[in-house]
Amino acid sequence: MATMTVNGKDYEVDEEGYLLDLSQWSKEVGEELAKSESVDMTESHWEVIDFLREYYDEYQIAPAVRVLTKAIGKKLGKEKGNSKYLYELFPYGPAKQACKIAGLPKPTGCI
């Protein structure tokens, strides 16, 4: 089993680097996951990460991109609820990269 180390503590991750136990997630773990994706985290990034974690908490799934953009638009404002904005933050796919940083499993139907 692959692991990643943050502040001297080991965390189990799958072969693509997704955290196995989402209850172990912390902001520091998020930072480290972001580094592995070469994403420089800003307030705008964390806003999406927090949103994803809340969504998962409520529905027990990571949303598909289409659902994510719609829900972000509703919650954080129309100017953010489009794939251009989300791809600027997470260039290799908002669902895939942001979910990884948020410590969530890869979204179902994500290819």
Partner: protein
Amino acid sequence: MSDTKKFLYVNRKAPYGTIYALESLEVVLIGAAFEQDVQLLFMDDGVFQIAKGQDTKGIENKNFSPTYTALGDYEITKMYVSQESLDERGLTIDDLMPLTYEDEDDDWAEKSSIIVVNNAEIAALMEEQDVVLSF
């Protein structure tokens, strides 16, 4: 998308104890992600999949029932439930989770996705599908 097909996912088993319900839900989400016309039918013990107040702590399984309430966001707006199956188990629609969607053509009004159907209606429903998947 031009080649949209009508899919009906038939859920007939209790939510836990076998993997069928969870697997069905995964395939439902994939179908919806590919923008197919996805509908669900709950019958036999499958009606328990959308029962209210599920608590899986005692069996150490993930309670995935909240995911059904997200399906409206995936534009899944038709969740059929067998009247006969509810009756046989002493259940009514009030024992089910409220499953809703927002109707784009009606100023985003929140509407129920649950449609209770009898056996004759189920037969007709299956007849009009391109694909029927039974779990």
